[in-house]
Amino acid sequence: MKTLKVLVSTACFVGMAVSTHAEESAALSIDGQEFTIQTAAPAHAENLDEVTSGWIYRAKETQALQLDDFDNPGFVFVDQAIDLWNEVEGSEGKACASCHEDVGQFAGLRTTLPRVEDGKVVTMEDLVNTCRTDHMGAEPWKYSGSQIIAMTALIGLQSRGMPMNVAIDGEAAEFWEQGRELYYTRVGQLDMACSNCHEDNYDTMIRADHLSQGQTNGFPTYRLKNAKLNSTHARFKGCMKNIRAEPYKVGGEEFKSLELYIASRGQGLSVETPSVRN
């Protein structure tokens, strides 16, 4: 009886070691394009030696979905965004396509966002909605609604494979500091900061989940969990609720500063949107 128990627990232990850890030696390449999924950490991420894409920590089957755009469910939403791109809306009778002939002109934009302009953090969502209200005469989209997430995925896709490179100096410095402060502040009944999981404990299992560095280079990201594209702010909100904390407002100043700070921690990682995660 005792022997049986030992055997069972050994089997369990071995099984866990094999099944839960992703193939970290694997390389991410899509249609011949190589992605940087691991690189030296920027100096301002002072507690990290290297920065790593969340793709590394996913199970093989999940990783595989991102290797081919036909298998990647995120592209369903990118296709929806192409329709939205051509849809005329608002008092000016314009679509995105009326002013921006080819969405390809936005290659590189994702790598530089969020950015600070006139004393405010500007996200891609802000840029899209400003176009809608100021140039199309249309209603802004809900900040983290399905339309804007799809559109930011389409625009972000134009930068796919390019390294993240947000500005953190000059006017951006104070917002970056705010984001850094939030990153290291414990909140909620579980009393945890972003750093407790994503800096101190990445690459370890938290029950069934393999903790990543919480990088944003793959966002918007398709999650198997909810079968849709997810924005960074929606993910921040989910994390905060997990630790039983009252989330900051989606689209609000705190999350925008945090988005800037976290983007800067991933400097050098390739844009992957629409990435696939669990």
Partner: protein, 151 residues
């Protein structure tokens, strides 16, 4: 045999008046990484403690600690130390302090305080002012942990 029976009866008698009023979270006395007194005066139930340990809505201790006593569970976390032999490494009074508020023992620990209801920022309304576990659940977990010996 008779002596043991007697001492259990005496312990039971002493414990009973305390049973009605568990020690409030703010009144728990931490001294050098130890909480000497039971939080409830009622002996912990190891079977219930085992459930609290793995239940995601209760302790969810398994989220961070590998536990060889639970091979039936597929996913064991590895953020904290393994639970195998934990009873050989710590006294019950030390475990009580670690479970109730680990930061009183390990400063800067990631481990949540399971019997603490103040000092948190931005706690979700439905958890605000509440402890993660009740005093008795903490005692039950302790009773369970004490069964986790190397042999």
């Amino acid at each position: 045999m008779r002596i043991i029976g007697l001492s259990i009866a005496v312990a039971g008698f002493l414990a009973n008046p305390l049973a009605a009023e568990p020690v409030a979270p703010g009144d728990v006395k931490y001294e050098d990484g130890v909480v000497e007194a039971s939080l409830t005066g009622v002996a912990g139930d190891p079977a219930n403690g085992r459930d609290v340990f793995k239940n995601r809505k209760l302790g969810n201790c398994l989220a961070c600690h590998v536990n060889a006593d639970m091979p039936e569970e597929s996913f064991h976390g590895e953020v904290g130390p393994e639970m195998t032999g934990v009873a050989d490494r710590w006294e019950a009074q030390e475990l009580r302090a670690i479970v109730a508020n680990s930061k009183m023992v390990f400063e800067d620990s990631i481990m949540p305080a399971f019997y603490q209801n103040t000092g948190f920022e931005r706690t979700l309304k439905k958890f605000d002012g509440k402890t993660i576990l009740t005093a008795q659940q903490v005692e039950d977990v302790l009773a369970y942990l004490q069964t986790l010996k190397d042999e």
